[in-house]
């Protein structure tokens, strides 16, 4: 018998898509029965109360959570988010219901052994409710009490070799696409790089020293499956500098509509779009029109290719990314608060991704950017906003990167160039008396 009536939520149990309400109800029931004999460290009926408070929000059209004070684990300034219910007497099981962020593994690969360790811990010391995963990428453990925080952290670090993620004005837990682990498009090993960077910058991740949050995301190719270009202060997107590799026989298989060579790797199988038409679907949609097909041979003018991935996506068995691979770095993406949304702006067109020297080319750029942002950034100013305020030229200056036309979509449309004194021959100090010898007052 459910502790609270939930007539609104009950209506979200039907329909084909997995019902989170059904899942929470089964969780409440599992806790109530407790067949495993768990010595619950937070109220056994917390999930019943979670359903109850959510139902109340459905009735009121308003949340019943308060942001909560300073809670955390000793020595860390992030990873725990305090949360309190504003109806504690009605729902005592979720009176204190803090969130813990747990750093997810690269590529979000897991073994069942590991996940069972985690679920066992969270049944014992928390609500058993999670997010797999939060928007930034962390495993999110949803709902425990203050005395359990250190205990959960202890078990994570001592028994599972697992640390917390970031929150607040910290480096947030970096995230990646699955990269070359299972994708032929990936121009670098995103899993290795995200793992390195997360470990390299543990201090920045756990101890707030930044003006505001800072996000790294790693996309293996310009398809941007992890959306780094839209939502990370520094976005690392795989690319290449040489030529797309062409298997001409395979190109002709696509042209012949061979069944083993479906266009777009089979992504359009659900509708009859007619026979595959190379001219129309690939050459005609190429943004730079740098391709031609003559005498059963495909030519790509690679010098004019912008590596948009379309032709490769359409014919993955015929076209491969180049071999001289690395990544581009874009800076400053963020959601709209406050000056409007920003997309990442290209800072480094190409940089090597080299694990053998601990990615030193990349970390140098990162640390130069951080030095500037930590010195000049105002409280709660994201990197993108600092770039807007002090200018893209300033970003180039602090990173020691030479301006190239690739940095802009088009050159400035106003001539109001703020010359620096040392850029102008002779400087700005002049002798007005000398001037007046030739120009009467």
């Amino acid at each position: 018998m459910a502790k609270h009536e939930t007539p609104f939520l009950d209506q979200l149990e039907s329909g084909p898509w997995p019902s989170f309400v059904s899942d929470l109800k089964q969780q409440a029931e599992v806790r109530a029965k407790n067949e495993e004999g768990v010595e619950f460290q937070i109220p056994q009926d917390c999930v019943d109360d979670l359903l109850g408070v959510l139902e109340l929000s459905y009735k009121h059209g308003r949340t019943h959570w308060k942001h909560g004070g300073i809670v955390g684990v000793f020595g860390y300034g992030g990873g725990v988010i305090g949360r309190y219910c504003d109806q504690p007497e009605m729902f005592p099981g979720v009176q204190h219901f803090h969130t813990m962020r747990v750093a997810q593994p690269a590529g979000k690969y897991y073994t069942s052994d590991y996940l069972r360790q985690l679920t066992k811990l969270w049944d014992f010391r928390g609500s058993g409710v999670t997010n797999m995963h939060g928007a930034t990428g962390d495993i999110v453990l949803l709902g425990t009490t203050t005395p359990q925080l250190e205990e959960v952290f202890w078990t994570l670090t001592h028994d599972m070799g697992q640390d917390l993620g970031g929150s607040g004005s910290n480096l947030r837990t970096p995230a990646d696409c699955l990269g070359s682990s299972r994708c032929e498009y990936s121009c670098y090993d995103t899993n290795a790089l995200v793992h390195f960077m997360t470990n390299e910058y543990q201090d920045e991740l756990h101890r707030p020293a930044f003006p505001y949050k800072f996000k790294f995301k790693f996309d293996g190719c310009p398809n941007c499956c992890v959306a780094s270009i839209a939502r990370s202060d520094m976005s690392f997107i795989g690319t290449w500098r040489d030529n797309i590799r062409i298997d001409q026989d395979a190109v002709n298989k696509y042209v012949e509509n061979d069944a083993a060579y479906p266009s777009n790797a089979g992504a359009h199988k659900g509708r009859d779009w007619g026979p595959f038409d190379l001219e129309k679907e690939v050459l005609g949609l190429c943004p730079t029109k740098c391709m031609k097909f003559e005498n059963k041979k495909l030519f790509i003018d690679d010098a004019n290719c912008t590596r948009c991935m379309h032709c490769i996506n359409v014919m993955p068995r015929a076209l491969k990314i180049g071999k001289d691979t690395g990544c581009s770095i874009l800076c400053g993406a963020k959601a709209p608060i406050l000056d409007g949304a920003q997309m990442g702006s290209l800072l480094v067109p190409f940089i090597e991704v080299n694990p053998d020297n601990d990615y030193e080319a990349l970390t140098e750029v990162v640390e130069n950017v951080w030095d500037w942002w930590m010195e000049e950034g105002k409280n709660r100013e994201r990197l993108g906003e600092l770039i807007m305020r002090q200018g893209f030229q300033k970003l180039l200056e602090v990173t020691g990167i030479k301006a190239v036309p690739q940095h802009v979509q088009y050159p400035r449309t106003n001539p109001y160039i703020f010359w620096k004194e040392d850029e102008v021959e002779g400087g700005w100090e002049r002798d007005v008396d000398e001037y007046r010898k030739h120009h009467l007052r």
Partner: protein, 382 residues
Amino acid sequence: MAFISTGYNPAKPMENRISDIGPKDYNEFYPPVIAKNKGKWSHHEILEPGVLVHVADSGDEVYTVRVGGCRLMSTTHINEICEIADKHCDGHLRFTTRNNIEFMVDSKDKVEPLKNDLASRKFPGGSLKFPIGGTGAGVTNIVHTQGWIHCHTPATDASGTVKATMDVLFDDFQQMKLPAQLRVSMACCLNMCGAVHCSDIAILGYHRKPPMLDHEYLDKFCEIPLAIAACPTAAIKPSKIKLANGTEVKSVEVKNERCMYCGNCYTMCPSMPLADTVGDGIVLMAGGKVSNRISVPKFSKVVVAFLPNEMPRWPSMTKAISQMVNAYSNGANKYERLGDWAERIGWEKFFEVCELEFTHHLIDDFRQQAYMSWRQSTQFKF
């Protein structure tokens, strides 16, 4: 419920402390076929909705069955996922960026039993536990935020709006008949901790009323300077208020016309709540993308300024979303993303074919970039 200690000693927090160890090493988690062929993949194919094969240069194959997952997930459900992984995949699995779960097997004959097992599992209420799909030219899972389940500033629920939307778009999750992939995202307030601003369709919770001021308690519960500093538009200033009983208290004053309803002040100061039954609701945005494919990444545009919160299934919202998806499906060319289609036909036609009303709220008036969105041309369609 006796407290059971791990050994942590609050009096000596540094004793035996382990910190700064980061995430687990991904190498421990790779399925063997992934570990063996990493970096040496030749190509892939989507065999049917939700089922992919990746072929390595070595000739090895990995078959992936992708299923939709709720980001809000219980340990009971995770344990069931583990059971499936043990039964079919030697204990391996992964999650995608968009909250899908991927079960991988190393030969084709293991695919059908896995699919059948996944498809057979249902919750008592009738919903599927593991719907197979989310690949190719269809709708994949919605990435979203917390909403009313666990956040203090949401203007709507996240899990509920997502469930309602995915039920309506479910056919397109399990099929690949759209012109291109269609990515729907959900954020429950304008802070967008799920960055939805570059999605084909974005559902956004939005408040429309400035915070209320609990003057009698404000100075007792809050650090007034922190509340003032939290405001991104500098709409809050200190004030002195005379209460009904005559006592004068320190409090704040909000310049309502400057408020953008972000709730950042409420984060700092619980005496400034802003949630409101009729003030809060949904904004719909459309036409964004993050991929560099064919066209460059672009922001989503606001196409519906406000819809009320209609619990528990938000019918006005799902109706508007369906109208957009149907018009896009009927009108766009193969490979054309929703935003590219809208730009090709013109946004004036977009509103016409989607049967959405254009209102003055949809004309940008926020700071400098507003100008860029006005029409500086005589080229338009009647």
